[in-house]
Amino acid sequence: MTRHLLAAAFLTVVMGLTGPGLAVQPDEMLSDPAQEARARALSAEIRCLVCQNQSIDDSDASLARDLRLLVREQITAGKTDQGIRDFLVERYGAFVLLKPPVNASTWLLWFGPLIVFILGVIGLTMFFRNRAQSGAPAATARLNADEQARIARLLDDMEHGSESHESGDHGKGDKP
């Protein structure tokens, strides 16, 4: 049982470390797999400032390598993940995090789409309400005497055969 577990752990580590397109070089890695896993997870959140849309975990830039080593050094030194994030944000600004933090300057970024959605819902609600209000009186209005008479004639026609239909004279009922 333990042998299986060991084999599974070994495979997980080996497969984890040999994933596709790794920028992390073997000589950078920490010997403790748990710490290395933390470093990998944290590196994936940190922007490479040279290539900007890659994380330092993905990037082959030499600055990214320096930052990967710095992350690992600080992990070994016992710093928390948040402590390392704070260290980098202090020096490079919040831009260094691929996921922007929620604060006063990013409220529009985070909640803008929600606000636009809510405005859209309010707009649509108002639109349909208006339409229902202006449409409703017409739909429920009583027919006047003329219209009643026309309906009676039409119903009468339908009951007594359909000569008018066969003749194609759809307008017959309209004749006074």
């Binding site: 900007q52 710095l70 020096r91 490079y92 600004g93």
Partner: protein, 178 residues
């Protein structure tokens, strides 16, 4: 009131288009420094040149100075280098070098070839000093005031225009304020 509602989408569109259009005029590769108006970071770098002077935080106090991040492998650094030679001979501003991610022998050869405008040069082969400054490329240039605070950062090579219109006026202003 109804009519106002009809133009609301147009106003909203123009607002968003204007905002995003303004965003396009900004160069996203230039990051604002988090150090502006803050004390220079804590760092201590050994001298690049064996019998020269190194660079550390306390060296930045007392005079208005420039800190220039450079490397021998950096082509724009070579392009801006004559500017620093000119400042070193014509202006009363110390220039401190931060030799970033370089090989010592390469950097020394580079200075021997082009001239050395720096009063002090800190040697930073592994980004230990650079990370404190938020350096993400070379060249970068900082203006430091008399109290050792960072007042300005310029990313990319400095040419006459930036020097004469931005850096020197700021330096003069800082030198004049007691």
């Amino acid at each position: 009131m109804k009519r106002l509602l009809f133009i609301a989408p147009l106003v909203l569109f123009l607002g968003i288009a204007g905002y995003l259009g303004f965003g396009l005029t900004r160069d996203s590769s230039i990051l604002p420094s988090t150090l502006i108006d803050k004390p220079a970071p804590t760092f201590d770098l050994e001298a690049l040149i064996p019998d020269g002077k190194g660079l550390k935080t306390d060296d930045l106090k007392g005079r208005v100075a420039l800190v220039n991040v450079f490397a021998s492998w950096c082509v724009p650094c070579r392009a801006e280098h004559p500017i620093w030679m000119r400042v070193a001979t014509q202006e009363k501003i110390p220039i401190y070098g931060l030799n970033w991610k370089d090989k010592r022998s390469d950097a020394i050869a580079w200075l021997e070839e082009l001239g050395d405008p720096y009063e002090r040069i800190g040697f930073d082969p592994d980004h230990k000093g650079g990370v404190e400054w938020g350096v993400y490329g070379a060249p970068e240039t900082y203006v430091i005031d008399r109290d050792g605070r960072v007042r300005f950062k310029y990313v990319g090579p400095v040419f006459s225009e930036t020097l004469n219109e931005t850096i020197l006026p700021l330096v003069r202003k800082l030198q004049e304020t007691p």
